[in-house]
Symmetry: C3
Subunit: 319 residues, 3 copies
Amino acid sequence: MNRNLLSINDLSREEIESVLGTAAKDFLELSKRDIKKVPTLRGRTIINLFYEKSTRTSTSFELAGKRLSADVVNVRAGSSAAGKGESLKDTTLTLNAYRPDIIVLRHPHVGAPAFVSRYTGAHVINAGDGKGEHPTQCLLDIFSLQREFGDLKGLKVAIVGDVLHSRVARSNISGFKKMGMKVILVAPPSLLPRGVESLGAKVAHSLDALAGMDVIYLLRMQRERHEGANYLPSMREYISNYCVGRRHVAKGQRVLHPGPINRGVEIESALADSEENMILQQVEAGLAVRMAVLYRIIVDNAVPLAAGEAEVRNIQAVG
Amino acid sequence: MNRNLLSINDLSREEIESVLGTAAKDFLELSKRDIKKVPTLRGRTIINLFYEKSTRTSTSFELAGKRLSADVVNVRAGSSAAGKGESLKDTTLTLNAYRPDIIVLRHPHVGAPAFVSRYTGAHVINAGDGKGEHPTQCLLDIFSLQREFGDLKGLKVAIVGDVLHSRVARSNISGFKKMGMKVILVAPPSLLPRGVESLGAKVAHSLDALAGMDVIYLLRMQRERHEGANYLPSMREYISNYCVGRRHVAKGQRVLHPGPINRGVEIESALADSEENMILQQVEAGLAVRMAVLYRIIVDNAVPLAAGEAEVRNIQAVG
Amino acid sequence: MNRNLLSINDLSREEIESVLGTAAKDFLELSKRDIKKVPTLRGRTIINLFYEKSTRTSTSFELAGKRLSADVVNVRAGSSAAGKGESLKDTTLTLNAYRPDIIVLRHPHVGAPAFVSRYTGAHVINAGDGKGEHPTQCLLDIFSLQREFGDLKGLKVAIVGDVLHSRVARSNISGFKKMGMKVILVAPPSLLPRGVESLGAKVAHSLDALAGMDVIYLLRMQRERHEGANYLPSMREYISNYCVGRRHVAKGQRVLHPGPINRGVEIESALADSEENMILQQVEAGLAVRMAVLYRIIVDNAVPLAAGEAEVRNIQAVG
C-alpha cells in the first residue's frame, strides 16, 4: 500500500488482491474466536476524525484498531474545536502534533482527506468524503464478492439508485472495473452525475436492466445530501420505479448495499430480510478488511526513509 | 446465568446469590487496589448501545468492561446511523456482524432488549428499557442491602414515588420479593400503574407508611417521561406530601435511591447528604455487580453448543 | 506535586522544574517511537469530565492517559446525568464511587475543580475552569519556552488580546512571573479585568509595546464568553489595532498561542503559518507535559497515609 488510502485508485489490482489476502488469511477468522485480538499495533495511535454522523464505519474502524491493540481516539467534529471555528488545516496540524500513526477521516467535503494528508505525517485513510470516495467500502465489497463468486473477471454488476450523491458508487465503479467486472448504472437521469459516460459505465433508466446481472448493488438514497433541491418529482414515483424487491432478483443473483438501508425506499423490506442479500456479510467483511488496511498501511510503509527525506517530511508535517 | 439478562426474572434466587457472590469475592475489593484490572475478558468485545442519555449506568458498564480488560465500544444513538433512520433491527444486525460477545442496551421502549436478543448471537444485558426493567440496578440494590442487613428474608421495604414510570420499581418489586422481602408501594394513585395489585405489593398513599420499614427505597421523579401529561395536580403538592426528609427516617432505617437524585423533589437535600442513605454504596456496588454480570454471562454460557444448535444460532444471528 | 493541580500556584518553581524534567526525560521522545506507550499507569482509572467542548485538551489528556496504559473514561456533560439536572456535587460523588485515580475536569465555572476536589478521593486536575485557570496549559508553555530559550529568568513576554476572558492569561501571568519572566499585558482597556494592576503585570494598549519583547503570547478572542455584551466597539477596529501579523514580529521573537486560533482575528494567517510561531511545538509539548502530570500526581502522592488520615479522607470522599 501507499502512504495514504485516499481513493480506490491508490491501489493497483495486485495491491487490492494483496490487502484482501491479508484480510482473509489473518483477520477474518479472528472475529470468531473468544480472544478477538492480536498485539500487532500495540502502542500505535489511531485517530478517528469524524465530521459526519456514522455508526458502521466509525465503529468498524474503532473495533479494527482495538482488535489490533492500537490506542484509538475518537474525535467528533461536533464536540471539537472545529465547533469553535477552527479550520480543517489547523485541526489537522494540532492532531498531527500528537504524532498519530493513522488518521481515519470522514468529512462532508470532497478532497478533505487529500487536504489533510498534506498537513500530517500520519497515514490518512479516507472513510468517506462527501460525494467523493469511500475506498474501504469498495475493498470490503470486492472482498465479499470474491468470497461469493471467486474470480470477479467478467462478472456483471448493476449499481442502482442515487449515484449522484454516492461516494460508494464512485469508488465502486472504479474498483469493480479494476477487478474486470462490467458495470451498469441504473438510476433516473436526475440522480446521475453530468458526464456520467466518462465514468466508463453503461447507463440504464429501468430495473429491467437487472436481468442478466450477477450482482445488484443498491445505493442508499442520500436524502440528507439533497439539501432541499428537487432531484426527484416525487419520492413515491421513485420508489415505484426503482425500489428493488424480491421479484426483481433472479436465482443466483446477489444483492449488496453499503448500509444503512432505507427499508421501502431503495430496498423492499422483504428483500432486506432475505438470503439473496449479502448486507451482513459485507459488514463482517468490513471489519477484517479494515484491520488489514490499518495493518498493511503501517507495515508496507515501515521502510526507513533517507535522512533528508525524513527531514522534509517532518518539516511539512509540522509547519 | 442464562444467555441474556433481560429481566430480573431471568435469574432464580439461587442464581442471584451466586452472581452476587462473584461480585463480593472477586470484584468488590478490586476497586480499592492500585491496579484495578484483571485480564479475565481480554480480547472480548462489549458494545454499549445507548439510546438514552446516561452517566452512571453507561460509565459503570464501560469501566466494568475495561477493568475486565475487554474492548469496550460505546455507540450512542444520537450520533449513529439510527440518526439516519435505521431501525433497531438493522442496527442490531449490523453490530452483530462484528461478533461482539455482549451488547449492553439502554432504550426508551419496553421490550427493546428482548427484541435485540432475537437478532444477535451476543449476550444481551438490559441496562434499562423505558418503563420496563433494569435488572442490574436490582442486583446492585440487593447486593447493597445484603452487605448492610445480611439475610434479607422478612425485611420490609417501602418503594416511594413515581412507580408508574419506573423500570427500577418493576425490577425491584420482583427482585425484593424473590429474596423474601415484604414490599409496599407508597405513591399518589396517579403515579401507580393500573392493576398495581397484580405486582404483589401492598399500596399506601402517605409517608406514614414508612414507620416500621427497614428500607426506604426512593424513586427518581421521571419528569422526562411524563410527556406533558398531568400526573400530578402540582409538583408543590407532591413534594409536600411525598418528598422524604430526615424526619421521616427512623433510627436503623436505611434509604436507597437509584440516582440521579432530584434534591428537593423526592429527597430532601439534608437526607441526601446524611449517613442514613446508601446511595454511594449503591453506586460502588454497581461496578462490582456489573463486572460479575459481564464475567458470569460469558463463563456460564461457555459450554460448547452441539453442532446443529450452533448452526441454527448462527443463521438466526446473521439473517 | 500536591494532591491536586487546581492552579499553577499549587506548584513552586522547583516543583515546576521537576515535573517538566520528567516530561523532558521520560515522555517527550516517546511520541516519536513506534510503540508510544509505557505500562506505568496500567490498571489506574482516569475520568475526563468535560462540561465544555474541547478537542485539544480532552484529546491530549485522553492520549496521555492511554499512552501511560491507564483506563480512560470520557464523560461529556451534554450526554450525562448532568443533563437530567444532577448537581456537580452529586455527579462528583457518583464518579468518586468508582474510585478513579484521577479526575480531569473542564468546567465553565471558576472554582469548579476546587469544589470537585472536596467530594472525591481522586486527584483532581483543572483542565480549564471558566475565566479561572488552566495550569497544564501554563506548564506546557513554560516547557516550550525552556526548550527554545533555556533559562527563562529575565525574559520579557507580552500577553496580547482578550485577557479579561482568558484562564490561560491568569495561569500564565503567575507562571511566567514564577519563572522570573517580565510580563506585560497588551489589550484594549475593555478586555482587561478590573484591578489588573494587582496581577503584577504592566499594561499597554498598543502593539507598539511588542518591540523589545522576547515572547509574544497571543490569546484566543473568546467570543463565546462575551455573551452578548459589547466589550468591543467593533471587531473590525479590534482587528486593525490588535491582530498580530508578521510585520509586528522582530527577528528572534517567538510567538505562542494556546489554540484554537482565530485566523484573522488575533493572529494573521501568514503569521500562523510562519516559523516564528511555536503553536505546534506547544501542542506536542502538551502531550508530554500532561503525561508527566498524570504520572507525577500519582507517584508523588503514593506515600501511605496514616490510618486516621485515610479514614478522614475516605469519609470526606464518600459523604
